[in-house]
Symmetry: C2
Subunit: 434 residues, 2 copies
């Protein structure tokens, strides 16, 4: 009997995160571009960020340590759901009739249903440790808000989630998930913040946007000493925490006795791609050869068509400036179902690799990702999130290319989350509505 699924024994589980920054500096012979203050345009200091983030996370943001220990309490919490399985998509291989071996890391088995909880727990942990009482955040599709709600419930922290109003109205069950965990959900824009009131004055029927929700969440955190703000992607420390995914995947691939030729992830803010890919980039810096493919929607092709330049993290231009591939902070993507990929920029650390020619990005029309995902779903029995569907599309295309060329390639991708709360998207797909 062949083996098609690998976990990890307790002694094999990662106990530290992989920090790619020292490797980038060493192997790409460059300095990491600093984050700039939105007003002064000067590099921000840790103190500039202190009102928003716990100091330990600010330290991680700029750390040059190669490995950063996972606190024991977080390791214990990871053991409520990790390691997630690494699965050989044997049924899919058969259907595609490809000589390629396809493997995927499945983060949909986590409590929050996606990789987002890996960093949410760490952020809540350090907040609690530093005396924070409340964490604010924004959420669009709801994956991040769910993860933070669960994490705050663990640590007895108040959690305030500004949910983009249109999502708040169209995704009632996502809302109930967060509510079950005790989160305080506010449809954004709201009357509870100065900027929210301003947005509503300009348009009382405003459907909201991720940028507006960020502004509201940041405002609440900045104005309250016992309150911090948490972000679900983009920042270095968020990508750092997500390396748990790739570190596990690497050990699991070792247990399969295979090593990837191609590593694939979808890119929204970039944290699931980076978390999965960075531990393999580590090997490439040291001589291995891997192709890294970043899957993105045609509706928001930041890596493929964006510019590599300084831009704001939010639409309103209130956050620090970061150097990244960006479509411009005022870019408004069309309302595709993969809400988690509708972000104008890509994480600075992922952008550096793209700029260095180490990552190739591929944009897809929405319909193609859903078609590929139905093939995958029928083969493997799993319903992926519309975001993860992009990675699946790339994996299937690569496997079909391998079929043409006869190559016995090893293709791995990150299936970042399940689509259990995205069934309306699948219904629209099945009804031919897009």
């Amino acid at each position: 009997m062949k083996t098609y699924i690998q976990y990890l024994e307790p002694k094999e589980r990662p106990t530290s995160f992989y920090n790619i920054i020292p490797d980038i500096e060493k192997y790409l012979k460059m300095e990491i571009p600093p984050v700039l203050h939105p007003a002064t345009k000067q590099p921000v200091t840790p103190n500039d960020l202190a009102p928003l983030f716990p100091m330990e996370l600010i330290k991680q943001e700029v750390s040059r340590e190669k490995e950063i220990d996972i606190p024991e309490e977080i390791q214990e919490l990871y053991e409520t759901y990790r390691p997630t399985p690494m699965i050989r998509a044997a049924q899919l291989e058969k259907i595609l009739d490809t000589p390629a071996h396809i493997y995927f890391k499945y983060e949909g088995t986590t409590p929050s249903g996606s990789h987002k909880i890996n960093t949410a727990l760490v952020q809540a942990y350090y907040s609690k440790k530093e005396g924070v009482k409340k964490i604010t955040t924004e959420t669009g599709a709801g994956q991040w808000g769910t993860a933070l709600s669960i994490s705050c419930a663990h640590f007895g922290l108040e959690c305030q989630v500004f949910m983009v109003k249109t999502s708040y109205q169209s995704k009632p069950y996502r809302r109930e998930v967060m509510r079950l965990f005790g989160a305080n959900l506010i449809p954004s824009p709201s009357n509870s913040t100065a900027c929210g009131r301003k947005f509503l004055e300009e348009d009382k029927d405003c459907p909201g946007s991720l940028g507006m929700a960020i502004s509201e969440a940041v405002e609440v955190a900045a104005q309250n000493d016992d309150t911090k703000y948490a972000l679900g992607s983009v920042l270095n420390h968020v990508l750092l925490h997500q390396t748990i995914v790739g570190l596990e995947a690497k050990k699991q691939m070792e247990k399969f006795g295979e090593y990837p030729d191609t590593v694939i992830g979808c890119v929204g803010g970039g944290s699931n791609f980076a978390g999965f890919a960075f531990p393999f980039v580590h090997d490439v810096f040291r001589g291995k050869k891997i192709e890294f493919l970043a899957s993105e929607p045609e509706a928001c092709p930041k890596l493929t068509e964006g510019k590599y330049e300084y831009d704001f993290g939010d639409s309103a231009g209130m956050t620090p400036l970061i150097k990244m591939y960006t479509l411009g902070h005022k870019f408004m993507p069309s309302p595709i179902h993969a809400g988690g990929l509708r972000y104008h920029g890509a994480a600075p650390l992922a952008s550096i690799l793209k700029n260095a020619g180490m990552v190739r990005s591929i944009p897809y029309p929405q319909i193609e990702t859903f078609k590929a995902t139905q093939i995958f779903a029928k083969a493997q029995g799993i319903i992926p999130a519309p975001e993860s569907a992009h990675a699946i599309k790339t994996a299937i295309d690569e496997a079909l290319k391998a079929k043409e060329s006869g190559e016995k390639k090893v293709i791995i991708f990150n299936l970042s989350g399940h689509g259990h709360f995205d069934m309306q998207a699948y219904a629209d797909f099945l009804d031919g509505k897009f």
Copy 2:
């Protein structure tokens, strides 16, 4: 670092199911009561059942082999999602401040989101092998229909699901899940069968029932040579396939270095309870001491208040008669959210153990199960199905008793499925609607 989650290495994974029948005959010194023909009241023969079930499953239904090999192809399919994790509920223990150790087997990580797929795959496999083209079934809450849809998609079988009309209307996303996997969904009662048309003649606005849906599915299978019928619980072969859950759990508990004092499962038809408990009952027959607790809703307390007698499996009285704890096949439970527990009878093999005094049943009001489950959810980050919530209530109560008595008990339960498609139930709970 302590370990809080256990999987199994490839070589540790079960390769055969545990058949409890020979052990019951040997250790309880009894004969298994035969299944009776609904018309003649005589024991049914394999040929009587042949129009409905593949012959290999009929053989399994009456097999006296102690272990029944899992076909290699099924082992491979199990490796798309098994082993499911065995998790120490360490966070819950802390919150309850109990000396008890609480562990749960989490079947919510399967593709279908519950244990149901364990038997659905096997049933689809043998159907395919015996030349069947189409499988019919009924579904209420949708867990079983989902599992069978996925399994039929694997094997290229047509899948026709008669879904209780009221569920069909109130659970649109469950519907979309099955549709994604290519199932042909029919709200029941329907015009597509003779009995369906009869039900509709009597009441054109009939909301449907599981009993009616069974009748329709059975009618289609009985009338078509290339079509078989599949059942998601109650029958011996279904319970047999579910022993994969308990067999894994036993090995995982060994890896934790602990052995259970208390084994808990909720009971609908009885398959998740039996699948989890039977491999431990195996040990009790050989001298171990374990308390088996069956959690059920007050709205449908078959084990606690039912009679142990011959009854029909469906409401219309079309199926063979089976000896089981039953509230009567015309019993109509109130519409609680745990739809999977709204069945009038309990599996014959589970009923035998109850009748022998080896299982204690506990009925709960719905509100108590949701309250317990919110505590669990906040502690462990997982949203359980309303059915599984009953097992959680029992586990928490037992852990609190252990706190009072100071006993360091080991309590294990089967968390049979996630509640991602049950968020309306949680919304109603949070809104104080029940």
